[in-house]
Amino acid sequence: MKIRFANKFKGIAGVVTIALVLSLLLAGCGTEKTGGSNEAKPAATDAGDTIKVGILHSLSGTMAISEVSVKDAEMMAIEEINASGGLLGKKIEPIIEDGASDWPKFAEKAKKLLQNDQVATVFGCWTSASRKAVLPVFEANNGLLWYPVQYEGMEASPNIFYTGAAPNQQIVPAVEWLLENKGKKFFLLGSDYVFPRTANKIIKAQLKAMGGELIAEEYTPLGHTDYSTIINKIKATKPDVVFNTLNGDSNVAFFKQLKDAGITSQDLTTLSVSVAEEEIRGIGAENMKGHLVSWNYYQTTDTPENKEFVKKYKEKYGADRVTDDPIEAAYIQVHLWAEAVKKAGSTDVDKVREAAKGLEYKAPEGLVKIEGENQHLWKPVRIGEVQEDGLIKEIWSTKEAVKPDPYLKSYAWAKDLSN
């Protein structure tokens, strides 16, 4: 009886699958035709009554924890522009793609956005790895990518605008400040991937030049969950400062376990460069209270633009959501692009790039400017301390925006780093 039932079920399931496959194939062919027909003319984006833009972030997989909020911020900016009449008289139509925390998938989706959808520009990526993966695609297709996250520098592609911090706008000033205020002995802790390794290379050169001392350099695999051994090493070596470049999830484990080991921010200074308000929500403010971070923007940053921005964001996505540096950078990069398009009077990539150079914008973090030479942003640098409520209080900042220097050319000690 049971066997017969199973067989019957098999038949039904079979029919269903075949129907499913057929309909999908048909759907696939359907999209094919539309994709194929405008294949012949590139830069056809000015035609039609909407301007298509791509949004390319990880909506699934391990990176989704960070990237979903960034996507939300970009969507909000697009809605704002559409609500105020659109761009060049047209509405912006976002096409969202999921990079799924997988670098080749990012390359595939970037190709799709540029070749099939003919988007005017793409806002996207979070990890350096995903940016490196899509870079050749953007260069080969002469596309335009806006990248909203602080990164390790050593790059300046004409097809990318970098709206997060370059090393000299986050890491270098933070190390300088720590050497001046907190001590000379540094313990470098990072996840095992490119950003921490390159950042630490910069820090080591800087420590050497400025009289700091390197106690240890430790890397843990992505997704590492137990930091008791690392914490034990920290205890044994007694550094003045732990410079933390851990990624995402690992920060939660590290700070929870650091507190359990009886080490608070009074006993040990840590400064993190990948922990912002959004991450603090996951770590728990009580576990991170008093620890330091370095960014260009905090939710508490005191500008009229920021008050407006925070209010809008909370209204749209819920009062319990927070804004942070990458979210703000994602938000302003959409507006920066829109301003450049207005100035150029076209969405053509070459024209927009020319128009964007030197463009100024009153951002929530303060006045920012696109540096023409390397397509990074002039940004103010802020060191902050995590408060009890999970927000960050600024304790030091540069007087004005710092010029971006991705290759650290203006620092004598860094001349061997960039080759």
Binding site: A6, F9, K10, G11, A13, G14, T17, I18, L20, V21, L24, L25, A27, G28, T31, E32, G35, G36, E39, L59, S60, I96, E97, D98, A100, D102, W103, P104, A107, E108, K111, K112, Q115, N116, T127, S128, A129, K132, A133, L135, P136, V137, A140, N141, M154, D192, Y193, V194, R197, T198, K201, Y219, P221, L222, N419
Partner: protein, 362 residues
């Protein structure tokens, strides 16, 4: 003359109808699809080569390896090393200088030659599989234990490749290639040629696998799957056969990797991990294990489905993939090809029945 035509007709239309149709469709695809889709399809064709290898070891021999991502990755890295060296024109590749390496490591140097890289793309996976296979199969590690052991293997490789950033590019992997054998990779003509080369290699791989399974060795493999001890008692040494098929399968995975890289333009350690390895097995499971056609159909169809669904529903596509997967594994263990065969059987039976009835009436 007519006889030969009839024979050819019989061979292609009757005995190998499905696979012939597949190859004809693959060859004609560039007429209907945009450049972007052809590029995607080329990637899926590379996956199909790999799926053939997995089918040999899992579908036919009953050994589930979740470490095929490693072999795929090794093949891909060999090819990527060649492409990287060509595009950096004699200089030290960019990621090495970021990582503080001033001189090219010795083992990178020979990869400047394309034939060497291609040979290594197949040879290294084969050798690795032979060593691991010999040890584990000789010690009679079987079934689930072998599967989990291969998972450990794939973790080891991922962590090693990520950790050795100066030599492997770390998590970023190796990317930003410009040319292959002097032809620009962004040129549509190059892309089309790469696609046809991939289809051709798939055909070669198919014929190669077909040769293996149609011979006595193929029957021994199936016998190992269905009753390893009986094979042993009949005087065969299953270890030799298992090592052989594991090595072949690894070689095909390596070849697939080498075909994949120039079309996709990046290889990173993540592709060697456990999740991609499970996905690779899923293609074969959905297409139909134990049939070479099933492996090819599975690889192409599952990946097309994934692309289409993830484009239409970027937020929730995992649901579709997950549920399809559960349904197929549970209710259709022999995959899509199994359903096709079932329908054919039912149809034939009803045809026979009708004929019988007609005969009865007379």
């Amino acid at each position: 003359m007519l006889e030969i035509v009839a024979k050819i007709k019989e061979y292609f239309l009757k005995r190998n109808a499905v696979i012939s149709i597949i190859f004809v469709l693959l060859c004609l695809a560039p007429l209907f699809l945009s450049d972007f889709r052809i590029n995607l399809l080329g990637k899926f064709v590379a996956f199909a080569i790999l799926a053939l290898g997995i089918d040999l070891i899992w579908g036919y021999t009953g050994i589930l390896s979740l470490g095929h991502g490693v072999f795929f990755g090794l093949g891909a890295y060999c090819m990527a090393m060649y492409l990287k060296l060509e595009s950096s024109a004699g200089k030290v590749p960019d990621f090495m200088s970021w990582s503080g390496l001033e001189v090219m490591p010795w083992f990178w140097k020979p990869f400047a030659s394309a034939p060497f890289a291609l040979t290594m793309a197949i040879l290294i996976p084969v050798l690795l599989a032979m060593i691991i296979g010999y040890l584990t199969f000789k010690n009679r590690i079987r079934g689930v234990y072998f599967t989990i052991l291969t998972q450990a293997l794939s973790i080891i490789f991922v962590v090693l490749f990520i950790g050795q950033q100066a030599y492997t590019g770390g998590t970023n992997g190796i990317t930003n290639f410009k040319t292959i054998l002097g032809f620009s990779l962004s040129d549509p003509a190059t892309k089309l040629s790469l696609y046809y080369i991939a289809v051709l290699l798939l055909l070669a791989a198919y014929v190669f696998c077909k040769l293996i399974i149609d011979r006595r060795i193929g029957r021994v493999l199936v016998a190992i799957r269905d009753g390893e001890n009986r094979i042993r008692f009949s005087g065969y040494n299953p270890t030799v056969y298992k090592v052989f098929v594991y090595a072949i399968s690894a070689g095909l995975a390596g070849l697939a990797g080498a075909v994949y890289v120039p079309q996709v333009g990046i290889i990173s350690p993540a592709e060697m991990g456990i999740i991609p390895s499970i996905e690779m097995v899923s293609w074969v499971a959905i297409g139909g294990r134990g049939t070479l056609t099933g492996a090819i159909i599975g690889a192409v169809l599952v990946n097309s489905l994934k692309s289409v669904v993830s484009e239409s529903f970027p937020d929730i596509w995992s649901y579709f993939i997950g549920i399809t997967f559960i349904v197929i594994v549970i209710f259709m263990p022999s995959g899509l090809v199994g359903i096709y065969q079932q329908i054919k059987k039912v149809w034939r039976n009803s045809l026979l029945l009708k004929r019988k009835e007609a005969a009865m009436k007379h």
